[in-house]
């Protein structure tokens, strides 16, 4: 019958010896070259990534390698993999974008390399509708103060807002990702972000504008500019802290140029929205002259007879 030492677990002892020698390696198959693993192993002495991060990274990437089957892009489950988030995860990502910290990279810490499309899509939709609704509300409030201003539902602003926000949140990350891919050769240590991670960063960074736009209802100009500047600072800081590790190894001029372009585009978006949707009031003291027929402007509240509408 079987000898006693044949029943001893020899293979297991070998494995434990191996593990004792290299405690940081996950038990994967030897032939798998994990491209991101060398990123984790090259410890950054600058202090951005601690030792625990690299153990986390290698364990996680090993797990992810085993899980990912990559269904084809024509199957429904391919797109389902982009919506694989829970409520608590989405809330955590939103919180992470609201409070950017210098050492914390949004992609590594909050996304954990699992980007989702739920956040960017619905945050952009919410922002577009909130912009249109609050822009309209501003007109209502202004009309209450100055009854000669012509009120109209201005429904076309919904389409304008939607187009602008979605183009910004998808085309700018595309350009940024393209640029980073092009400069990939310069970097040894850190791979660039995938396209979805870039979209995710931009999408979640737009969240801080939603309460800001609601605050812009208050018709105090310095408060509006202050809250706008605060939102822009938070949002741009989140973007810069996320992009800094990737861009740091590049040449100095490329890094500075890229970061300043990113911040500039963000500022353009904020001020563009402010000026288009929340026009400085009053618009015109008389009824707008482009109205062909001289119809009295109908408003929510009872208007006094308009002074020059019939002119």
């Amino acid at each position: 019958m079987a000898a006693a030492d044949e029943l001893a677990f020899h293979e297991f002892e070998e494995a434990t010896d191996l593990l004792a020698q290299t405690p940081n390696e996950a038990t994967t198959r030897g032939d798998q070259l994990v491209p991101q693993q060398h990123v984790a192993v090259a410890v950054d002495s600058g202090g951005s990534y601690g030792a625990e991060d690299e153990v986390e990274e290698s364990d996680k990437t090993a797990l992810l390698q085993e899980e990912k089957q990559q269904p084809g892009f024509w199957t429904f489950s391919y797109y389902q993999s982009f919506f694989d988030v829970d409520t608590s995860q989405v809330l955590d990502r939103i919180k992470g974008s609201l409070l950017p910290r210098p050492g914390h990279n949004f992609v590594r810490h909050h996304l954990r390399n699992r980007p989702d499309l739920y956040g960017p899509f619905w945050i952009c939709a919410t922002l577009a509708f909130v912009l249109a609704v609050t822009g309209n509300l501003t007109l209502v409030l202004a009309q209450r103060r100055d009854p000669s201003i012509h009120y109209s539902p201005q429904f076309h602003k919904v389409t304008v807002a939607g187009t602008a926000i979605y183009c910004y949140a998808w085309l700018v990350p595309l350009a940024l990702w393209g640029f980073l891919q092009w400069r990939k050769g310069v970097r040894e240590r850190m791979g660039p972000y995938t396209f979805l991670e870039t979209v995710c960063v931009y999408g979640y960074s737009l969240f801080v504008f939603i309460p800001t736009v609601v605050l812009w209802l208050i018709p105090v100009p310095w408060l509006q500019w202050l809250s706008g500047a605060l939102a822009l600072a938070l949002s741009a800081a989140g973007l810069v802290f996320t992009l800094w590790p990737v861009v740091r190894e590049d040449t100095r001029w490329a890094a500075v140029l890229l970061l300043s372009v990113v911040v500039l585009l963000h500022a353009l978006l904020a001020t563009g929205c402010k000026f288009y949707f929340f026009q400085p009031l009053p618009l015109e003291p008389a009824a707008p002259p482009h109205q062909a027929t001289s119809q009295p402007p109908t408003v929510l509240l009872s208007p006094p007879p308009p002074r020059s509408a019939a002119a």
Binding site: F76, D86, W122, T126, F129, N136, P153, Q291, L301
Partner: protein, 236 residues
């Protein structure tokens, strides 16, 4: 004469028979008649049903569909945990409601095109593409509701908002003023809450429990936009 229970070469019968002594003498075939008619009640009824829908009057056909739509309206107005909306889904109700809402939201005469309220096509697009987007969202999040069932529920739950639109139009016929606005605001808010409660009663169970809020939030946004369109409606 058929002999039962006696198989030749059975080693068990070689021994003297203890128990079933007279069993082999019994024959079954001729004593008990096995004849008659087997009727399957469902089959004849289905055959009748098939032929009758071809020959029935137009009024019967229309009334049957209208009654189904009306029954679902009742389910929306008094939301209980029932499966009727999900099991027999149809899209007639959503179509009727959407067209009614879009017609009522249209401005009477042409002001300046750019500054006006939503056109018919805009309302239509918002309702249908909004419903499709929410359905896709809930399916991508892992919900187990079918595409058309979800469209059916979302479309039928616009009914409270359509009622709000009717009320607002009636209220707008009276004297404009702050009370006018307050009444309309109150009605729209109540109907908005009713729509959301009705649709979550039907849709929430189909989502995995840790993603319910993610699936319900777009529904909230959808009905919020429709309520906004109703509230800002100003007639000429």
């Amino acid at each position: 004469m058929a002999e039962a229970a006696e198989s030749p070469g059975d080693p068990g019968t070689a021994t003297p028979r203890p128990l079933f002594a007279g069993l082999s003498d019994i024959s079954i075939s001729q004593d008990i008649p096995v004849e008659g008619e087997i009727t399957i009640p469902m089959r004849s009824r289905i055959r009748e049903f098939d032929s009758s829908t071809l020959n029935e009057s137009v009024q019967n056909t229309i009334m049957r569909d209208l009654k189904a739509v009306g029954k679902k309206f009742m389910h929306v107005l008094y939301p209980r945990k029932s499966n009727t909306l999900l099991r027999d889904w149809d899209l007639w109700g959503p179509l009727i409601l959407c067209v009614t809402l879009a017609l009522m939201l249209q401005r009477g005469s042409v002001d300046s095109e750019k500054d006006g309220g939503p056109q018919f096509a805009e309302v239509f697009v918002i309702v249908w593409f909004g419903a499709v987007t929410i359905t896709l969202n809930s399916k991508l999040l892992g919900g187990n509701i079918s595409f058309f069932q979800s469209l059916c529920v979302l479309g039928y739950c616009i009914l409270p908002l359509t009622v709000a639109m009717l009320v607002c139009r009636l209220v707008l016929l009276t004297e404009p003023g702050p009370i006018n606005f307050m009444v309309r605001l109150f009605v729209v808010i109540v109907m908005f809450a009713w729509s959301i409660v009705a649709s979550t009663a039907f849709l929430a169970d189909s989502q995995p429990p840790n993603r319910k809020a993610l699936a319900v939030y777009p529904v909230f946004l959808f009905y919020f936009v429709i309520s906004w369109m109703i509230l800002t409606f100003t007639p000429q």
